[in-house]
Symmetry: C2
Subunit: 109 residues, 2 copies
């Protein structure tokens, strides 16, 4: 298994540019969705699966491991949850929601 790590070759940068490593991490299926849903609060594996509506356990498990390795997610007694770093990323992704709302109107005006 390979986890995108800054400093090692990643998609978009053979030298492991930090931003490309992040894009590689966040650009995998469900990664951003998981972060988004976890911001509602920590929860169990199965509950998270339901929040995501249709993610398979294998994919969820893989993403959780990657995001945990990347220190965006941690496991506590409450289940899986965002770390401080994870919440920071959430905050950075947050503005996308407003943008997406406007964007959506152009498809369904």
């Amino acid at each position: 298994m390979s986890f995108p790590t800054p400093g090692k070759p990643v998609r978009g940068s053979k030298s492991g540019n930090h931003l490309m490593a992040l894009f590689d991490l966040l650009g995998r299926s469900w990664a951003m969705g998981i972060i988004w849903r976890l911001n509602e609060g920590p929860c169990t594996f199965r509950a998270l699966q339901e929040r995501c509506e249709s993610i398979s356990p294998s994919t969820l498990n893989k993403r959780l491991k990657e995001l945990t390795t990347a220190a965006l997610i941690q496991r506590t007694v409450e289940g899986y949850g965002l770390t401080d770093k994870g919440e920071e990323i959430f905050q950075l992704l947050h503005p996308l929601e407003t943008w997406a709302r406007t964007w959506a109107k152009e498809f369904n005006p």
Copy 2:
């Protein structure tokens, strides 16, 4: 071929939630990388391929079509370039770079 479209089922939302549609679009391999590289200025298909360091023409072509359909990218006499909407997304992604720099230090302190 399927393009993630708000209002239609996408990864993370059967009802096509706009944000999940955007995550589906941006969360495909190279999507964010392409937007990032295009911000350097419009360029030809082959030049873009080189900027990306290692993307295959088939993937690049597919992403370009998706991003064009999504109105983030357009084609002009200068080649492929960001639309106004595309630049907006770039601006929203921009803060990730600073964050990623700090994050990288924790992997290679």
